[in-house]
């Protein structure tokens, strides 16, 4: 019994029962399939995160974001007057996270690719693009670059899903995807 020492002193020479061996083989094969799925998706799948990231000071990232906003703002939105930025297709676009907003609002064209740069000005934040349910972790001092290709038009929200203080639940941003 499992609460007493094995009755056979030389337990490591006992034969293993057949169904046990069979299960071990099946489980091992399944484990390897699951392992292979990840490299396979890097080759054949369309949803992979780039490994592109940089160390960056928050003020530098803010400068770049503001420069983009200054150039391509098309209108303002909502009570807060947050700028809506429509950058050219294929360009580098920026969204910064800070207590408690995602800035600015982006307007993107459907089926175009963009290099999205993300970073935080203060705490860690969670970039949760809804209703797609794409989730990325945003750090201060790190700039993450991910190439996105919005393939459906509509209004998307960016909800913060990393706890970032008492106003965390008010931190919502916006991305519009428009037909060209």
């Amino acid at each position: 019994m499992s609460i007493f020492p094995p009755e056979k002193r030389i337990w490591w020479k006992e034969p293993i029962e057949r169904s046990e061996i069979l299960w071990i083989v099946i489980a091992l094969v399944w484990s390897l399939i699951m392992f292979v799925m990840m490299p396979y998706w890097h080759i054949a799948g369309e949803q992979n995160l780039s490994n592109e990231a940089y160390r960056i000071r928050p003020e530098v990232f803010a400068e770049r974001t503001e420069a983009m906003a200054e150039k391509y703002t098309v209108r303002e939105e909502g009570d807060t007057g947050i700028p809506v930025v429509h950058p050219p297709a294929g360009s580098d676009i920026y969204m910064l996270a800070r207590l408690w907003e995602w800035w600015p609002v982006l307007e993107l064209e459907k089926d175009q690719t963009y290099r999205l740069h993300l970073s935080s000005m203060d705490y860690q934040h969670g970039f949760s693009l809804l209703p797609e349910n794409i989730n990325l972790q945003i750090h201060p001092d790190y700039e993450m670059v991910v190439t996105i290709k919005p393939n459906r038009s509509g209004e998307y929200s960016v909800v913060c899903n990393e706890f970032c203080g008492i106003g965390h639940h008010t931190m919502v941003g916006r991305i519009h995807v428009v037909d060209k």
Binding site: P5, E20, L28, Q124, H139
Partner: protein
């Protein structure tokens, strides 16, 4: 040193119990249950706040309660109970004296003191940083200090356990190899030492940073090292829980492992491959390469997952083999139908095995795949998953074990034996549904650690689908059911210890299938060799099919989102 240890002999099991170990096991287990109560109440507050129609707590209290809930149940309750299990495995199962009882008491008071200090820091309101305390969000120094003191206490307890193993070996209190359950406990203690080392490496600098002696802590480095503690500590839970599964199978059925070799190797796979993993929590983080993420998060080709899948067969397989030897041989499942479903020690154990596998295991492996994590990270799916592991897996296994262990150790009758029959179902099904509804809401994007998914104070809002609100409501109701189950457990245990009648006969949970007739029924092999377990194998295949389907369904979901590269 002159051995002045006093022993008593357990009338139910015949175990020789060192009196100082006896007392330490009791104090650690009871302290754990007290923190289960405290942490459980915080958890109930969280669940009722996330129920949109109730929305119980204001935002600051919600985040405070969530921080306290994570610390008190995930860390304090589980680890106090685990220390009790270590002493039980080391001293009682090996019939040895406990090494250095004074150090064990120091460990106990440090754990208790540390837990209280951190709780005070959280309740004061200046350390609402969540259990994970990601920098650069800063808690009061006492928050980190309490955790460090607690961890040093745990380290001392592990050392006492290792010392006990050495003493038992020297005193020849057993012959041959240690029992499988003690082997499992040893594996747990080894992983615990690694866990605590990782914790020291990250929490001591963070404490100094919080006091002002260290200027900057890198946010990414913090998470890698913090999770080397945080994730490994969950592996300790898994190992202890599986050891108790084997213990319950032996106690309730006189079951032997199908093969000592296979079960012990599966435990060894944990030591070799579990602890390197911390990157499950950093799969969508900037600055780590995909190669590193894939290797680390898969525990090197999923070899530790293989270990868990093996236990998933061998634990119920041991029960099946024992039942078949007793003559429950009809068809595939007579052994299971004729199991003592009215005995809470068994029903809790059985539910723990099934729910841990289906709710905790499958989902954890799925969301640990590098790319799949994109559609899961930090959504409510994540707490849904780990309520499937640590609540309906670990906590339920601990409850099941308590139904045997409390009446036997205290030599008292359960005060509410009737309602105890229902308790594992109430708790297991209630908390199982909590897990399911949280995961369901998570797949719709509902964030974890979030006070208000209606965004009533926000400048911009996102409107979640009606199903998300429905699931949050159902989650609240399920938490009430599960909470009732937990309350009954705590009342029953505390009542038994305080007011239970002295035991006259063996508690039903302690059916002494131990050595007397157990040994006669079973052949004299060290393992239940040569016994085929077709029923368990069939159940394992059902599990595998569910696993494979669920895994690939999620790849299909992933394939539907915006292309990312």
């Amino acid at each position: 040193m002159i051995n002045t240890t006093n022993y008593r002999t357990c009338p139910d099991t015949g175990f020789k119990i060192d009196l100082s170990a006896d007392k330490l096991i009791k104090w650690n287990a009871v302290s754990g249950v007290v923190f289960l109560l405290i942490g459980g109440l915080f958890g109930l507050g969280v669940a009722l706040t996330r129920w949109p129609a109730v929305h119980l707590l204001p935002a600051d209290w919600f985040y405070l309660a969530l921080t306290a809930h994570g610390f008190d149940v995930l860390l304090v309750w589980i680890i106090f109970f685990e220390v009790a299990v270590l002493y039980f495995a080391g001293a009682v199962l090996l019939g040895s004296r406990l090494a250095a009882p004074k150090v064990a008491w120091l460990a106990y008071w440090m754990m208790l003191g540390g837990a209280i200090i951190t709780n005070i820091a959280v309740l004061r309101g200046d350390s609402t940083v969540m259990f994970t305390s990601y920098v650069p969000m800063k808690a009061a120094p006492e928050f980190y200090l309490g955790i460090i003191i607690f961890a040093v206490g745990v380290l001392l307890a592990c050392i006492v356990f290792f010392g006990t193993l050495v003493i038992a070996k020297q005193d020849k209190t057993y012959t041959g190899s240690v029992p499988l359950v003690v082997f499992g406990a040893t594996v747990a203690a080894i992983i615990a030492v690694f866990t605590i080392a990782a914790g020291a490496i990250i929490l001591i600098p963070t404490l100094l940073w919080s006091v002002g002696y260290v200027g900057h802590i890198d946010t990414l480095m913090y998470k890698i090292v913090w999770w080397a503690m945080g994730h490994s500590s969950q592996q300790v839970n898994v190992v202890v829980q599986i050891s108790l599964w084997y213990a319950l199978a032996a106690i309730l059925f006189g079951a032997k492992p199908l093969s000592e070799k296979v079960s012990r190797t599966a435990f060894l796979l944990y030591i070799l491959f579990l602890q390197l993993a911390s990157v499950h929590h950093l799969l969508v983080e900037p600055g780590l390469s995909s190669e590193y993420k894939i290797f680390n998060t898969s525990y090197a080709l999923y070899l530790a997952v293989l270990g868990s899948m093996i236990h998933g067969l061998t634990v119920p397989g041991a029960v099946e083999a024992a039942q078949r030897k007793k003559g429950y041989n009809k068809g595939l499942f007579e052994w299971l139908r004729k199991a003592p479903w009215g005995n809470p020690a068994f029903s809790g154990f059985a539910l723990s095995v099934v729910l841990f596998g289906f709710l905790g295991g499958i989902t954890g492996v799925m969301m640990g795949a590098e790319q799949l994590n994109i559609i899961i990270h930090n959504t409510l799916y994540v707490p849904g998953h780990f309520h499937g592991t640590v609540v309906v897996g670990t906590t339920l296994a601990f409850m099941a074990f308590s139904y045997w262990f409390v009446p036997v150790l205290w030599q008292k009758e359960l005060v509410m034996p009737g309602i105890a029959k229902w308790q594992p179902y109430l708790f297991g099904i209630g908390m199982g549904l909590v897990s399911v509804f949280m995961m369901g809401a998570g797949t719709l994007g509902v964030p974890r650690r979030h006070w208000d998914i209606n965004f009533s104070d926000a400048a911009m809002a996102y409107e979640f689908p009606g199903a998300a609100h429905l699931m949050m409501g159902l989650n609240g109701m399920a938490a009430l059911v599960g909470g009732l189950g937990a309350a009954i457990f705590i009342l029953n245990m505390v009542g038994t210890i305080l007011w239970g009648k002295p035991k006259t006969k063996a508690a039903p949970a302690a059916e002494p299938s131990t050595d007397t007739h157990g040994a006669q029924v079973l052949a004299s092999h060290g393992s239940a060799e040569g016994m085929s377990v077709p029923g368990t194998f069939t159940l394992a295949m059902v599990f595998l099919v569910a696993f494979v389907l669920y895994y690939f369904v999620n790849w299909k979901y992933l394939a539907g989102v915006w292309p990312l590269s």
